[in-house]
């Protein structure tokens, strides 16, 4: 008997009566507000930022103002120049040289302030989203979903992406002495630009 068969046999013998534990209907709980204000509040709670345009601002001028010292601005979207295109980054390691990565997220979650990225947005160079110093995420208000339940039920990306990550603000850890440190394991800042 293979270990697989013996595990399954023990599980079948030991499991509680399936008839007494029916699978509950899919839960869609909580607030159904899929609004921009709720998204912004949640994102800012976890240290994320909104890149607000000033009079006559384009994304390029807004980025230049927010990150004046940035030398390598990498673009993963067709409608923004940057100093280098993500397709021209040769290896996952080289993504570490990036100061600012500009990427478009297919959807956000209002409840959590999360944005979704997968290999489809990152040209299969998944390290780019984590090794860059700062990330600017282009997001459309019409692509907001209310909460985790609606996200998993509605969004097709969870069924197609090999690697899908929900990012909520910059990387953060408070494991050591309860001190919150941002940017130790990933991006130092995450900003959302509304389109």
């Amino acid at each position: 008997m293979s270990s697989r068969d013996s595990i399954l046999a023990t599980l079948r013998a030991n499991r509680p009566d399936p008839a007494a534990h029916e699978l509950p209907p899919v839960a869609v709980l909580g607030d159904m507000d899929a609004g921009k204000a709720r998204f912004e509040d949640a994102l800012q709670l976890l240290g994320g930022q909104i890149l607000l345009p000033q009079e006559g601002d384009t994304l390029a001028t807004a980025i230049a103002r927010r990150f004046p010292d940035a030398k390598i601005i990498c673009s993963a979207v067709p409608d923004f120049e940057g100093t280098i295109r993500l397709e021209d980054v040769a290896s996952p390691q080289q993504a570490a040289a990036t100061d600012v990565l500009v990427v478009r997220s297919p959807f956000g979650i209002s409840e959590m302030g999360s944005i979704f990225l997968s290999e489809a947005q990152l040209n299969s160079l998944n390290s780019a989203a984590h090794l860059t110093q700062h990330i600017v995420v282009i997001l459309s208000e019409k692509n907001l979903t209310a909460n985790m339940h609606t996200a998993y039920v509605e969004r097709p990306e969870f069924h197609t992406a090999r690697y899908g990550v929900l990012m909520t603000g910059p990387s953060a850890t408070a494991d050591i002495q309860g001190v919150l440190i941002r940017g130790a394991q990933g991006v130092r800042s995450l900003s959302v630009w509304w389109e």
Binding site: A27, L45, F158, R162, Y163, V165
Partner: protein
Amino acid sequence: MPNLHIATLGIERIVPRMADMGVFIRLLSRSALGSPITQYTTHFRGPQKGGEMHIVLVDNGRSARLGMEEFWTSLKCIRCGACMNTCPVYRRSGGLSYGAVYSGPIGAIIDPTFNERKYSTLPFASTMNGSCTNVCPVKINIHEQLYKWRRVLAEHHELPFVKREIMHMAGKLMGQPTLYRTAINGTEVALSSLPRFVLYNWLNPWGKHRELPHPVKQTFHSWYKKNRLKDKKESKGGKA
């Protein structure tokens, strides 16, 4: 980047449907940190282009635990750590003191399922305050299972000799108030009068890095007996 990804996980990690994940993602970080979600929530559905991904489902006694009527619900644990953050024992002792991968109250009820002898003392390190059960987002009756493990371990003779004998003696002592109070008085006298080498030696490993409690001149009980009990009797007598 390596093109090989091997993920190992316990068989109890599996949820029936993708739609069910929302329930657990929402519970996890708000029970752990109090934040709506962890900064990175990663979904691996397949290997990266040109790579390999393997998922190893680990049993290691979990399927057997499913058959333990009183303990199987510990398989519901989502590893949020809420029971640890609230536990008065864990907060003083820290995770390493449990000597196992799983620490805290949840560790004390699942570690014995892996090795009863090795982790036989863990279920005894509890004040039975029930705080863990109170905060558990998946409603595991942790403190009740701690109590049940004590019984099981005693029945299986997994308690170390010294612990078993001490428990036996303590049981006798605490069952007889007069004997108990005499013993307490004796201890206070001993603590205040015996020389250090008698109190701190190999027979007392507890005192190796710690000081014994300070002796008190008077216990609460003896103070009560002297001051309040007398008043009560007198006032009762006066009324009569």
